[in-house]
Symmetry: C2
Subunit: 371 residues, 2 copies
């Protein structure tokens, strides 16, 4: 490990396990002693087709995906799904329903309006998105209900999912593979890869085949889930390196005891940091305790004038990526799967030490004023 | 260099320069001694924003792109452009015009029909796409004329571009950066990265700003060139590693004397192989001489029963990727920028030696029959 290796709390693209990075780098030079880089193999080669298959099987195994669902790899990130979903499912329906839990949920909602009517069933915008609304009605004639399981920017996470009679679609970009979920509760799950799956450039879609086959209208090929399914995600040249590295990363996850194993580690990491935020008199957390995200911990200093000093202080300890999103301010520490507990300990120690120094400085100032 | 390094004639994803692969692999471990992998840096970091900017500047410099054009990086490959182009430009027009020069040109044409009327101005399907049609009329009320500068599967390349009064749009996926073109002749050029630009997962678009600003209708964000332009290709998380490696590869290209320099090398490589195809009594080329591609050389054996033997023969000489596309058969040797002349020499030698062996075998058989 490089001596100056950072504690990377970045929100994404984010930290990946060091062993995965080493294997990915090796494959860029020479993949499996084939005399070819992973960047220069044909996506139609049996070797790469087997990578796609293995990655799909790992997704199925790690999340207990039933056979009644297809596992697809696309491009364009969650943002492309924001329009692809209404394009596929809104046609011929009166409206689509959205739960508004933050910045990306809003973006998904706004894209739907290009294709038809979209309504918001509930919103937590009244309290700066610091909670997940839980009592709301969903119109039974809506095409689907769209939710966002983890709100990366606001630092909230949804632990109970609504029961609906209409298809439930979930953007899990920032918490997929971080905790066990019951896939059967959802009709479509999607996620940009660049948090807990792999490098930016691929999108995972887990779709109930029944929902997929309910589509009867024609669609542009690259917006048609059926085409990705029929071609085993190899309709056109896929993001080869992203898929390969995702496979390495999911193998790593399996070695950590799978999603169940990593979930325990993630709970420990999040508890450690939230405990310090609650205990430390200088800081406070942004999300309501019941809806606190384990992936993205948002917090602030009671005295905003200390922000720059705290950022400098953490930087000197090799901590990176904790500046809050520009519209929210303060800090955001992302605790994705690959972030070791030791990095959280370094951050917590920095918060304690910073507080101690500040209180010493204040005592000194008080003494000076008294003397 | 790995001793068993292959001579990679694959059609794409394809060979990249070894120095580029080494630098890309280094960055996967630790990018610029930042203590972070290129896979785990934020796309909003100043360091990565500078990569995007440098890559754009290299594209501009290498292809002499005027300021009146925008240089954009998208995802989804050329296949996504097949639908994005009519989505942006066909609205409100009576039809779009397509030149049918092969498999991918056909695919582009078929996608357009999801968005309006599309017509074929000319086709070389009458001769198995072995030439580029050059005399045809283009309706002046068409939204645009779409052409494909190099036909990867069929092995033809367009060296003269039509003069039109309507916007000219060109799929340059498999020959961009391989030869100098006059960008000003085109209104939109697009290319999947995975031939001469970088790893699969990114798409280059060079678009005349005037054309981009002629769009007045609303579009889904990820299908809207204006949004990519306004956000400097960072509207959402881009394919970070593909863009970074493309930057390395374009820097390499600059060191080769730029596009003009590589074009001379490409001409030499192609001439060497075509000369052998024409000289060798066992083989023949598929494309008409005036339209032969310098990037993808398609050829066959007069006696197809020898195909498997020739493939085995080349495999023993570390040659890979020369099997022809399944609908065409025979052989296809792709001579992209990073393929060294030495690899072409190895292939030509294999053709000569194979022919010599076959003729000796035939002589022996004749002698046996005579004796």
């Amino acid at each position: 490990m490089n001596g100056n290796k950072k504690h990377n709390f970045g929100a994404g693209p984010c930290i990946l396990p060091e062993s995965v990075l080493r294997k990915a780098a090796d494959a860029v030079i020479d993949w499996n002693d084939m005399g070819l880089s992973i960047l220069e193999v044909s996506h139609r080669s049996p070797e790469f087709e087997s990578v796609v298959l293995k990655t799909q099987l790992l997704v199925r195994e790690l999340l207990h995906v039933p056979d009644s669902y297809a596992v697809l790899f696309l491009q364009g990130g969650a943002s492309t799904q924001f329009s692809m979903i209404p394009m596929n499912f809104l046609r011929g329906k009166s409206k689509a329903a959205y739960l508004d839990t933050g910045y990306f949920a809003q973006k998904a909602f706004r894209e739907a309006r290009h294709f038809g009517a979209a309504i918001t069933v509930a919103s937590s915008s009244d309290k700066e998105y610091n909670y997940i609304p839980d009592h709301f009605d969903v119109p039974s004639d809506a095409a689907y209900l769209h939710i966002t399981s983890n709100n990366t920017i606001e630092g909230t996470e949804q632990f109970e999912f609504p029961e609906t009679n209409i298809p439930l679609i979930c953007d899990m970009s920032s918490d997929i593979f971080s905790r066990m979920i019951d896939v059967r509760k959802f009709d479509l799950i999607y996620a940009g890869a660049q948090k807990n799956m792999g490098p930016a450039g691929m999108t995972l879609v887990i779709i109930k085949k029944e929902l997929m086959h309910s589509i009867s209208h024609e669609l542009p090929s690259m917006s048609d889930y059926r085409i990705f399914d029929a071609n085993n995600s190899l309709y056109n040249t896929p993001p080869v390196f992203s898929i390969y590295t995702a496979m390495l990363n999911l193998l790593w996850l399996k070695d950590q005891g799978g999603v169940v194993g990593i979930e325990q580690q993630n709970i420990r990491k999040a508890m450690l940091l939230y405990r310090e935020i609650d205990r430390n008199p200088l800081f406070y957390g942004l999300a309501q305790p019941a809806h606190r995200s384990r992936m993205n911990v948002t917090f602030k200093l009671h005295d905003p004038s200390l922000e720059a000093a705290f950022l400098e202080y953490t930087k000197a300890r090799n901590i990176t990526g904790i500046k809050g999103y520009r519209t929210v301010g303060g800090f955001r520490a992302s605790l994705y799967n690959a972030l070791p507990l030791a990095s959280v300990e370094v951050l917590v120690k920095a918060m304690k030490d910073f507080t101690l120094e500040k209180s010493k400085q204040m005592q000194l100032t008080e003494q000076e004023e008294l003397s």
